[in-house]
Amino acid sequence: MKKWLIVLWLALASFSVLANEASPLAQDPEIEARLKDMSHELRCLVCQNQTLADSDALLAQDLRREIRLQMQEGKSNQEVMDYLVSRYGDFVRYRPPLKSSTVLLWLGPFVLLLAGGVGLFIQLRRRQKMTTEVPLSAEEARKISELLDKES
């Protein structure tokens, strides 16, 4: 019986050893802070409309681990970002960079806003011209006062 208790105790003790192994690779608070900052800028590629910071998908965990490792190797945020973009493309960035292929994406809304504004301006000017004030003739003035008198 005692022997079995020892076996059991050893088995349980081995779990805590395993649990230690699974703990995060870096305990360095500076790296953790950088990782946290950066993962808000990165897309979780499996769950496409989440950032890496929001996601618990397996790939997101792996990517965080990879970023952590590269930061421990002394890479700057820019270098890590360049690495990820070279592997997954610009899509990995939550905010697409401004370049020739994304100009429409960045400037399109402003162009539309400008076009709408100009259109509205022209339209209003035109209307203003259409409604030039015409003074009432004596006959019309008489009719109006007659109508108003009738009302009261």
């Binding site: 590629l45 499996v46 397996l58 990517l63 990879e66 070279s86 592997r87 997954y88 493309g89 899509f91």
Partner: protein, 177 residues
Amino acid sequence: MKPVFRALIPLAIFLVVAGFLFKGLFLNPKEVPSPLIDKPAPQFDLPRLDDPTKTFSPKDMLGKVWMLNAWASWCSTCRTEHAVLMEIMKMPELNLVGLNYKDTDAEAQTVLSTAGNPYQLVVTDSDGKVGIDYGVVATPETYLIDKAGIIRYKKIGAITREDAYTEIIPMIKELQK
């Protein structure tokens, strides 16, 4: 401009927008263009599934046109693809290397022994590190690599018979010239 035409402008704008959105319905958001096309295949040195004491590196395939197929036993789409791979691998000119992605050796071996093995060899990427290097998002993904070790094509998702016969195999024949 005639007033009739002017009245049709909003309708025209609506139709253009609707047209774009309609096309968007049939796009696959998972198909993200790979920046690795026309770039050298990332190097790695991974243990082989059949004999973990031996390793394989993309350098070993220099001078050959080959495919690297990321797969896993837990991936159901891979099983659909497996049948197609089994069929096309009857062609002697194809070299297919499996990248067993985030899997256990035992489970991977079970798949290969029950469903057949289309791979020339399989390497094990148990922690998915090489997968990240290749920009793997979700298995299956397949890379076609030319004689100089340059990635020429990437397929995201299962290779269908149609992909194989109309796209991949003609491309391999072209690259082998």
